[in-house]
Amino acid sequence: MKLNKTKKNGGETPPFAVSLKDICKSFGPVRANDSICLNVSPGTIHGIIGENGAGKSTLMSILYGFYQPDSGQIELDGILSNFRQPSEAIAMGIGMVHQHFMLVPNFTALENIVLGSEGRNGLQVGLQIARKKLKELSQTYGLQVELDSITEELPVGIQQRIEILKALYRGARVLILDEPTGVLTPQETDLLFKILKALKSEGVTILLITHKLHEVMAITDIVSVMRQGKLVAHTETKKTSPEWLAEQMVGRSVLVNSQFPEGKPGKIALSARNLCVSDKRGFNSLKNASFEIHEGEILGVAGIAGNGQSELLSVLSGIILPAKGEFVIGENSFNSYHPADPAHLRQLGVAHVPEDRHAEGLILQFQAFESSILGYEKDTRLGSSFLTDPNIGREHCSELMNSFDVRPHNPKLLSSQFSGGNQQKLILAREISSTPKVLLVGQPTRGVDIGAIEFIHNTLIKMRDRGCAIVLVSVELEEILSLSDRIAVMNAGSIMGIVKRHDATKSILGRMMAGMSPDAALESAV
């Protein structure tokens, strides 16, 4: 697996592991990549950062052979290699770990790793050879994985290791990691970084796509910043700062990590008692969740994705029925005998910004104005007569777009044609314009650019100060820490505890996310 450096001729520097020359790629009128030139030295960790829609993923997809560039060249170790499909890129030693893992859940780790390169002479023979080879690989890089465990039963961090092993098994010398830490706990992230460093010391070149600045600072050697399809900065990580990088990403100064003043809680707006959710197989995804939330307060819900936060939001918004327990809003109490439904809750003043904005929050094939009335088409947003009037809808949407600075300002554009941040602003505008008493927010800034993040955060704080009770579910600890008045941490479907913001730190929350009680977490922090 050592990098082959025999191509050195004379005293010249070795060729770049990856060299992209003038890569251009357009999708219709959108220039996703505009004359990108990028050189990556072998055996380095190279960070590529940028806002959503900046063209990072497109660039990596070109390198991995998913897309073909409109023009430009790719060289690997000085050899011209324009790939027509991923299999060619894999053969040339490029491996990719996707943000959403490409693993078969009910296969064993070993089966997943050899998938696609099983060999031809009977599966068992292939598996035996693979097992031997993987043992070596695991030892070299410190990548321990129980090869015979079923993949879906393993923690996310281990599943990611399987992905990395899979790439290495196929002989990857260049490893592309797309937002690898999005699903990890802080502790798991540390472990991942250790592995990446081990890989680097063995000569593997790593391309790290991320939007988390502190990770870039912590682990990369070189960092490249992309903005609107162009490569705008390229520098050694040591010589830069998070603030400067953030500036480069958005093209102006922003506040990173600002803490907002705490709110002034009033009466109880919503209280939940022993809420439980179980699926058809009897798996309890939410266990005995009890909490209260007051007017003018933000309750942050932290936790690694998939620990019951989504179910909590779905129950409170009436999308799924709790198996047990109840929640009370004003005079109304809802439980499995007296179920809530989203339309009724909306009338009671419960607004919901869903976690998955593409599947739930808006309808991608709808024009913006149609998405901007989703769930509210009954009121006057489409006119007051029996027949609806799209012009009224467009005017309404236009006002929303004005006050929330949604760009492009065009109610007729398809919802899918807006960037993530603008889609989110549109959803937020829709939900807030009904002046809700309770606002349920899931991952408000996932895949949203920094400029929009600031706007969304300020909007949430403004809503809170107007007396709205906000439940904020987010996997971004910084976000939780800077916005919430109190923080509930979830693990395996249970709320581990609720801590006040000024008692909480990242490491305490991290420990609670891993299943510690708040007391134990506080103690071990001291």
Binding site: G28, D341, P342, L345, L374, L382, L387
Partner: protein
């Protein structure tokens, strides 16, 4: 059927169907040339048969009426992402509905009421035949494609059972009911037009054609101008978003299948109330299935469906003329040509998309560069 197309709308709506039609005709032309006839002569006879010869246009529009109803049925269901393949069965049940009303009330209450009730009956019976698969899909997860196909067979069997049994006209050998009471029929268009001074040839075209056009408008209003239509489209595009918004997708599915079934059932008005004046077997003769191609070609929009129906109506009528004129071209040959058109505008509807996308996207990019 839904494809995310990066093409300008007019290309999608006009140029692609036109290209598909042209390709189908081209292939059909080759086959006609192979059997030794001149394809251009054949085409001209088809066109004349459909539009020029005496009564030709009337017959074309008569068939068009059938296709509009079944095409609309498929389109409405498709807006909620449901493939209603059960047009045949729903239309057959619609016919039964008309028959039951006309035979039981025909000589009891005044004729106009009988006709109105019969029209309502066709929609109701069709709707019921759509709602059952809809319910099974929504509440039980049985796939609508499978159930609607099965329901075609059930409807057909029910009709055979009734027409060869309880409802069979006495002293007769064929499986059909007695004729409806006098006057229980829709006016023919040629009668109406002749009475107001236009001289028009005889044809089976009747008032159902007007009703079909009204239904087109009604469907457009429903889908694009009502809150229910908004919910239907939302559900069709994203079930999850529909749940999120509180629209209860199951009920939308059931309701949409009722509307779709009703539209398919109304096809029977044209055949039974317009022409036959009694219930016969197999009067649906494949219109329900062809409705799928009609909806596909018409891009699930009423205006598109009117044009696609006209095309298929012309094919039916012009095809019959071909059969009549040429010894070498048989009825089966005509069915093959229709099949080719369905193949190219239905199954292969998006065959030219990549090519056109390449052409148009490259073009717009170039234009932008020049503008910029």
């Amino acid at each position: 059927m839904q494809q995310s197309s990066r093409l300008p709308a007019y290309v999608d709506i006009l140029i692609i169907p036109f290209l598909n039609l042209l390709t189908a005709l081209f292939v059909a032309g080759i086959i006609i040339a192979i059997i030794g006839e001149n394809p251009f002569t054949a085409l001209s006879i088809m066109l004349k048969g459909a539009f020029v010869y005496k009564g030709g246009l009337g017959y074309t529009l008569f068939y068009t009426t059938n296709f509009i109803f079944t095409g609309l049925a498929v389109a409405v269901a498709f807006h909620a992402l449901l493939f209603n393949i059960g047009g045949e069965g729903q239309a057959a049940m619609g016919g039964l509905g008309i028959g039951l009303v006309a035979l039981s009330l025909g000589s009891v209450i005044p004729v106009p009421f009988v006709i109105l009730l019969a029209i309502f009956g066709s929609a109701l019976f069709g709707a019921v035949w759509g709602v059952i698969p809809g319910y099974l899909q929504a509440k039980r997860g049985s796939h609508i494609v499978i159930t609607t196909i099965m329901f075609n067979f059930i409807a057909s069997s029910i009709l055979i059972w009734l027409l060869a049994g309880m409802l069979m006209a006495p002293n007769q050998m064929s499986p059909e009911t007695v004729s409806f009471a006098d006057g229980v029929m829709l006016f023919k268009m040629h009668q109406i037009l002749n009475s107001i001074g236009f001289s028009v040839a005889r044809s089976p075209l009747n008032l159902s054609f007007v009703l079909a056009l009204v239904c087109c408008f009604a469907v457009w209003v429903l889908i694009w101008r009502t809150r229910l239509g908004y919910r239907i489209r939302a559900t069709g595009f994203s079930n999850k978003a529909s749940t999120y918004a509180g629209y209860q997708p199951e009920w939308i599915i059931i309701l949409v299948m009722a509307i779709s079934g009703a539209l398919a059932g109304m096809m029977a008005i044209n055949e039974i109330l317009g022409v036959q004046h009694r219930v016969i077997l197999n009067f649906t003769s494949g219109y329900g299935f062809t409705g799928i191609a009609v909806a596909l070609m018409g891009r699930n929009h009423p205006v598109g469906i009117i044009f696609a129906s006209l095309l298929f109506g012309a094919l039916y009528q012009g095809g019959a003329e071909l059969d009549f004129e040429f010894q070498t071209i048989t009825r089966d040959m005509v069915i093959m040509i229709q099949g080719l058109i369905i193949l190219f505008s239905g199954a292969l509807a998006y065959m030219f998309n990549p090519l056109l996308e390449h052409f148009f996207v490259a073009n717009t990019a170039q234009k932008e560069m020049l503008d910029g």
